[in-house]
Amino acid sequence: MKDKFKETAIVIAQEEIATGVFSMWLKTDRIAAEAKAGQFISVYCREGSRLLPRPISICEIDTADSALRIVYRVVGQGTEEFSKMNTGSQIEILGPLGNGFPLKERKAFLIGGGIGIPPMLALAKELDCEKNIILGYKDELFLQDELAEHGNIYIATEDGSCGTKGNVLDAIRENALEADIIYACGPTPMLRAIKEYAAEKDIETWLSLEEKMACGIGACLACVCKSKETDSHTNVHNKRICKDGPVFLAEEVEI
């Protein structure tokens, strides 16, 4: 039942799609074939002083060419290192990791905030239903054109430079959007607000969470979040984001 692999991927292409935001296509051996929207990969640094792999969501899956796309923001030295890689560079990755989004073909909101937007592209491509895609940015946009090919796009920017001035919920309200199911990924305050909004409206909601990770496969218990019920694996109120998530039903988890 082996469904995760550690492999040496090859960088097919890399491009800076917004200031400090990079899009990288990776040629994989086996990972792409197993990958689903909402899953992530662990990306290892070459520099030996940085031991832990960086979890990065899968942004696009090209099974035909056995390729994966990731889109990431440079925030520290690990992502800085990745951003310097060129076509042909080798990069160690582990994946696919986590559970991914459940594909329920109902009228959906796909909500991405900032660097939580990339997994929404894979999801938008896999999900065959009416999709309102709400994207929240600080200022500079990215991936919005590609996402527009798969649904109706609504944009919120903090500075109001594009779309609704404010956050993704402001955009939803401004456009009087409705949904039967919500998929969301982004900063915790955004997820918290969406959880509240969904509870009010009683909408089934799936949130993709983040936490610092070590193993990435459920062994070390670094990356837990609080769960409402006792978790069957841990036998306490903790779920492992890397293994049981990163995608959780909103009411299952405390955020």
Binding site: L51, L52, E211, K212, C215, A222, V236
Partner: protein, 300 residues
């Protein structure tokens, strides 16, 4: 070529084991490693009752290492006995259960519950820096250490490994205390207490403020302590602390370790434990070492 080693009467097919807390009970890593190739699997610490562990963030990366403050989250001994032991029994490897607790009674309860279980060795963690009560308190005072070792030894049906904390002035004093208390094996080192501060957020990088430093950064301290303890007591030692590859494993063995555990390296490469088994065999072939036991403590 013989790679078998002996820990208090328990024969391991090779000296390579997993460091407690980094390998769960083996299930997750069994996708990357044939557990039957390992000398033994040391499980995550288990207590008498389930523990929730610490708030997140629980880990932070440091230069050549990492800090963790998991806080010994565990499902409690009952779930462990019903789920994890049967899982491990499927493999041809030794089962070494790491035991934690807040009081001597907690430890004893776990040890007694494991008495009739198919477990090969018990590793007693008296050195966890990340829980307030118990844990490291036992591991930093020789009298406490001797006393708890005695209590556990009385009740244990399997040989006991006392796992020592490196956060002490004199590791040999602790080793002698454990020996006096009746320990069968010693394992060392647990993590060094460390801290990281995020200067941009002006906040502690792990929620618990302090955590345990592990990884290759600490290897020189670990090798030194293994060497000192090997020359101070006559118990076999499981050496650990920053082992990343077969060369590191051999370094510990030459310093005096009979077996070794691999921890943080699993996060860097999930298949590393099996690679270390192979690498040790290669080294033995290269230098024509017929029996790995010849290497134990060979540098003095």
């Amino acid at each position: 070529m013989n790679t078998r080693i002996n820990l208090a009467g328990v024969e391991l097919k090779n000296p390579v084991t997993t460091a407690s807390g980094t390998f769960g009970s083996g299930e997750e890593y069994s996708e990357f490693v044939n557990l039957s190739r390992l000398g033994g699997v040391v499980t995550k610490g288990v207590a008498n009752i389930p523990w929730e562990g610490n708030p997140t963030p629980r880990i932070a990366e440091t230069y050549g290492g990492m800090i963790n403050a998991i806080g010994l989250q565990n499902p409690g001994i009952e779930v462990f006995v019903q789920r994890d032991i049967p899982f491990l029994k499927q493999f041809d490897t030794k089962i070494i259960v790491n035991v934690c607790g807040k009081t001597t009674e907690d430890y004893c309860e776990v040890v007694e519950r494991l008495a009739d279980q198919p477990v090969d060795l018990l590793e007693i963690n008296v050195s966890c820096p990340n829980v307030k009560e118990g844990g490291i308190a036992f591991g930093q005072d020789p009298k406490c250490l001797e006393a708890i070792t005695k209590e556990i030894k009385k009740r244990a049906k399997q040989p006991i490994i006392m796992k020592l904390s490196p956060n002490v002035t004199d590791i040999t004093e602790m080793a002698r205390a454990a020996e006096a208390g009746g320990a069968d094996v010693l394992s060392l080192i647990n993590t060094l207490t460390g801290m990281k501060i995020d200067i941009n957020k002006r906040a502690f990088a792990v929620a618990n403020k302090t955590g345990g430093l592990s990884g290759p950064a600490i290897k020189p301290v670990a090798v030194r302590m293994v060497y000192q303890v090997a020359n101070a007591v006559s118990l076999p030692i499981i050496g650990m602390g920053g082992i990343m590859n077969a060369e590191d494993a051999i370094e510990f063995i030459l310093a005096g370790a009979t077996a070794i555990s691999v921890g943080t390296a699993n996060f860097v490469n999930p298949g590393v434990t099996e690679e270390i088994v192979n690498g040790i065999e290669e080294y033995m072939r290269k230098y024509n070492v017929k029996d790995i036991n010849e290497l134990i403590g060979a540098v003095r």
